[in-house]
Amino acid sequence: MQAIVNISLKEGVLDPQGRAISHALGDLGFGEVNDVRVGKQIHLDIDEADPARLRQRVARMCETLLSNTVIEDYNIVIPNED
């Protein structure tokens, strides 16, 4: 099964990369952009058929390695899940 982990910076953590992108968009004429925050997306292909167990295992992966929980939040998306 597939799982997608979206990792984003926690509220309140300064994101200079996001800020630079926001300014660049403004310079390009997209003045309507107020804020930009940059995260990352990790796609996992896993041998697990049960969505609940998959979610549990992926959460564990996030806590152990994929996300730095000091400064990052994560959410897990299982495509095609009902």
Binding site: V13, L14, P16, Q17, A20, L65, V70
Partner: protein
């Protein structure tokens, strides 16, 4: 024990670049070559100091130091630290220390979003008793080169206050003779180096092994390492 009898181990990950530099620096000061320990080892011989050197371990993939921090050898390093052993993490090594929780905080991308290689001036903080700072007065200034893309130290305000109260902020960027902004990367409270809660582990972004001799044009790094080694054996 004298400095020349010290046992020093330098951990090497795939992508570590400054292991040889640190090995040469320690050998210069102790007349004894430190051991280079490959990351796949699971045990560490008894040592007086473990050094985690600079570089781009595992290509800085996922997050700097994230994969190295979960490497096989790190269990032994954590045990060594838990028993009060001394650990020095330089640059990528500092990143590994924060990823493993051996020192608090996180190193994020430089605020200027660019790699920065230059001299910086550092001042020693009012710290707890630590072999890495006991040879220096609070407020004393040294000049050491940095070279990093992710040296921007972050911790919550509460954590920062706690670090300050506990005397864990070992080094701060400060004004001095070096060209450019005194804080090169946006680090909170100008933090350049942080101690563990028992003062036996230090993570720092600047590279003392690059300031070892007249050929380097700067010996402040040799001075810093020498005092640290002397304090560790006394």
């Amino acid at each position: 024990m004298t400095v020349s009898a010290m046992r020093v181990a330098i951990i090497v990950f795939p992508g570590s670049n400054c292991d040889r530099d640190m090995m040469v620096a320690i050998e210069q000061l102790t007349a004894r070559r430190p051991a280079l320990v490959w990351h796949k080892e699971s045990t560490l011989d008894a040592v007086d100091l473990v050094i985690i050197p600079g570089g781009f371990s595992f290509g800085d993939y996922l997050r700097c130091g994230a994969l190295a921090g979960r490497s096989s050898i790190m269990n032994a390093v954590l045990d060594h630290a838990a028993r009060g052993g001394a650990v020095l993490g330089i640059c990528n090594g500092f990143q590994v220390l924060t990823e493993t929780g051996m020192v608090p905080g996180v190193l994020m991308r430089n605020a200027g979003l660019k790699f920065a290689c230059r001299d910086v001036d550092l001042t020693f903080g009012e710290t707890m008793n630590s072999p890495f700072t006991s040879g220096f007065e609070a407020g004393q200034i040294i000049t050491i080169p940095i070279a990093h893309n992710e040296g921007n130290y972050f911790a919550t305000n509460d954590e920062l206050q706690q670090l300050e109260d506990n005397g864990q902020i070992a080094l701060r960027y400060c004004e001095g003779k070096s060209f450019g902004a005194s804080n090169p990367n946006g680090s909170a409270k100008d933090v350049a180096g942080v101690l563990s809660s028992n003062g036996r582990v230090l993570g720092m972004m600047p590279h003392p092994e690059r300031a070892m001799s007249t050929l380097h044009g700067n010996q402040d790094g040799a001075h810093f390492l020498k005092k640290s080694l002397e304090a560790l054996v006394s």
